[in-house]
Symmetry: C2
């Protein structure tokens, strides 16, 4: 066989980078998280090592925000993933705004944000996996096309563990649930 066996490597990358907004003991904090997922149409998973400062605030408030940094925010996005809110004040890295929920500050410069309620927490070794439900989704008008979010305009970043790189999104090249009709047996 020509395949190479790398052993038990988690290769599910690149994943979208989001900045999770919280309040910990009343202070705004942001952290870079890419270990995210979709649980069902209305539920998102956010997996965060138990060591993180943000987890305390999420458990206290039962809320968080999910913000999409655009490519040009990569320095700040990486920075809030490297330093801990337990030691460094990250409340002024971004200008914040609020929607309906307490404890879920959002990033004004981020083109797309969701304020979310925590509906459950999976307790897995070393991680809290927050299952959250978007209550409101906010975006800049400029990222909409025909009233729908156009990810080309959001310019999201993706994270890749094996190479430890951030990636840009490429071009849209096919329509879902459509191009498959060209399949010939």
């Amino acid at each position: 066989m020509m395949k190479k066996n790398l052993g038990p490597v988690n290769a599910l990358y690149p994943m979208p980078v989001v900045l999770v907004g919280t309040e910990v003991a009343g202070k705004i904090n942001y952290i870079n998280i890419a270990h995210v997922g979709i649980i069902d149409m209305t539920t998102i998973s956010i997996s965060m090592g138990k060591v993180h400062h943000s987890n305390k605030g999420i458990k206290e408030n039962k809320t968080l925000s999910i913000n999409f940094p655009s490519e040009d925010m990569v320095v700040e996005a990486d920075y809030v993933g490297v330093v801990s809110g337990a030691k460094v004040d990250k409340s002024k890295v971004f200008e914040s705004y609020y929607g309906e929920l307490k404890g879920a500050p959002m990033i004004k410069n981020a083109p797309l944000s969701m304020e979310c309620e925590v509906i459950d927490i999976l307790d897995v070794p070393n991680h809290d996996v927050f299952l959250v439900r978007p209550i409101n989704t906010y975006c800049d008008e400029v990222v909409l096309a025909d009233g729908k979010i156009d990810m080309a305009k959001v310019q999201p970043m993706f994270f890749d563990m094996p190479q430890r790189k951030y990636w840009k999104l490429g071009e849209a090249f096919a329509n879902c649930w459509s191009i498959g009709s060209n399949y010939v047996k």
Copy 2:
């Protein structure tokens, strides 16, 4: 405020498209899934509507495979997401191979595949969320760079629900846990 409120929209897209390989009643089946996630370093979530034919096989075998279709497989990748294995034989859409696990056929043409064991199933409304652990990860030699998976060579596809499009991966443009050191307060 200049932000537009779209209501409770799940905007966590684009997500990587994978083809999940199963055996249902002994027959090979593949399905296109993008509602995936990372639970912790060694655990992946695969969310599948309970209506899908594949779920029966996964529950029976407690295994599945995760295959990354490259861009040039988009027609076949979309096709296996549109037709059901309950009605159509999808066992010949791809040439299959096996690793160690029974019930987890992998796709020879896919540049990157994981054979996985199911370690838990989250029972959420209308969905089975399979929590799986990669046992072995296989790739074509050509997608490796210095022994690591180079996603530029895998050429993965991403799925976007709002616009129902498949996207290409763009270029790597920054190093993680590194570029943030350029942040100036």
